[in-house]
Amino acid sequence: MEPLTGVTNMIDVAPPLTVLPPELEQADWWTDEMVFRAGIPMYDVPFVSVGGGMGSFVTVDYLRVAGGVPASDIRVLSNLSHPWQTYEYLTRVSQLPRSRRIRSDSSSRPDNLWGFPSYAIQEAVRDRTVKPVKQVLLEPVFADFYTPLLGMVLDSMRREAQRIRYWDMLVQGEVRTVRRRAGGGYFAVQAPRPNQPNAPASGLIAYRCRDVHVAVGYTGLRFLPDLQRFREQHNDYHHVVNGYEDHEHVYESLRRRPGTVLIRGSGIVTSAVLQRLICDRLHHGAQTRIVQIIRTYVKGAHGRHAWSRRPGSHGFAYQGFNYPKSAWGGQLKARMRRREGADRVQMYDEIGGTTTPLRRLWQHHLQNGRREGWYTAYSGKLDSLGLASNGQVKATLHSPEGDRRLRADYVIDCTGLDADVAEHRVLGDLLHHGGARRNPLGRLDVEPSFELRGSASGMGRVYVTGAASFGGYFPGVDTFLGLQISAQEVVDDIARRNLCRRMGPLRSTVEWLKWARNRQI
């Protein structure tokens, strides 16, 4: 009988692992031997960024340009094929297509460390018009804040991603865990997607690295309990939607026949949804009646002191960007950096809250709506959501003026992206096994350098930027400019540890010239 060599081979070569063995799953610290015993292939790379969204892109860009780190020393582990994939999805479904302007400053450029030239200058040169530059000159007193077109922002990012060889660093797949390594550094374990060009093997792979950067974005949508209850009780995901979900069917239906829509919230997504509904009324003949429910109804300027009053009216609190502008570099940034514990929470309360920009066009449309009777805003809380016999959604509004019964064809909840950090696999794992702890606002506690407190491993560090680090010494973490400030802090810290270069004025100018000439690095 012929020996079954083929079978022998199959037995000798163990199939690639797809789940972590219990020994590794339960251990806070891993040794090289433990990983070897588990049969997980190990690869060395000094720096790993987990997430692969905007936060990873901006940090890796900074590390490549300012830190002078070669692409071969960095791996970005991500489910996404390009850094703006989730961002573009969220902006699109929340009614900001590529042709619309996002809520971001002219010099907040994720593709450009220096923010120069600003988007306004780029747009002025591209379209041969001085209008954007004039707007920046006059903003915000004599004109609305200039904000860039989404399409321009994304196109610029693609250009920069190619310039820094982003796709050479990207390994697509699901990240399972980040664990501390006995002897220093970390293991970042990923299950790469099949046929990944940058993945060294199939099955689970352990990247043995010195530093890990984690920027996984928002961990999920926030559904208010009554909305969640409605959806589960009626198994109805059609009439009650979140502003960050794809809800195009609502607009399509309202264009076909007159209807009422209840909008919950008063932030930027509410404004974008209102703009879409109003645009459909003006240009596509929709006869939609809009009822907005605002939990914290702002009647006018509000704040603790005469020198600390935020403008507001008709339910909305007005602010150009997510935070007062000085949070990204002025006195508010400097003050926040010195605050600890309850003091810091108080300051977040003072500057936080739901806001939207004061845009002249929006004001004009809403004023028309109030006058013509197709737009009404109520103060209060919605309750007892149910389905009426005619298929409409019925609800009770509890307001200071008393209870009111409301009916609508659709409810759009625009109250935000705000789930618990522990719901994310990697973040939860860092809390359970990585030594991480929560900050006073419940997110991950980071140093001013964005090093994750309690997670150091020998010479290695974990850095967390973006939404998961909200509540730290810098408030604007989940914004373009905030990601850049965080990236600067991270790269400065790595440079202080003598593990990458520090960029002085001369090299900064040289690197800017390379950026301007689109020279690949």
Binding site: F116, V136, R309, K325, S326, G329, Q331, K333, Q488, S508
Partner: protein, 145 residues
Amino acid sequence: MVPTVLGRIQTRLFLLLVIGGPLTALITPLLPVDGPMSARYTATFVVLAGVAVLGIGWELIYHLIMQWRWEKDWPTIFGLLTMIPEGILLGALAGLNLLPWLPGPVPLGAFAIHFGTVWIAVWLVGQGPMRVPFVHWRFNGGRLV
């Protein structure tokens, strides 16, 4: 750049030195004013020093005004418009020969050209090009050290 009080002062002094200094040296011979070249240079550099020294006081006033703004920011146009009060005060002091070390009263036309050119150049550089060599500057409220 959204300034802190220290950042305001540092940026003003730095840009007046690095941009205002060479620009003053270049345009002094072209100004419509009589007198020997040494006196002209003395006058223009005294005026430049006046922008710097009086400017520290002005910056404190601007910082105070900024406290009434919710965003605690300083819009682009403010940086340009502040040349009016500063120009009027300094122009009056220079015209009346009230600045120390001034060789004589400075004619209004020459002052306006010099002051206006320096101001606009400094303002323009502060609006963007400054960020190229100093990548931390805008996130540090205009501080350089």
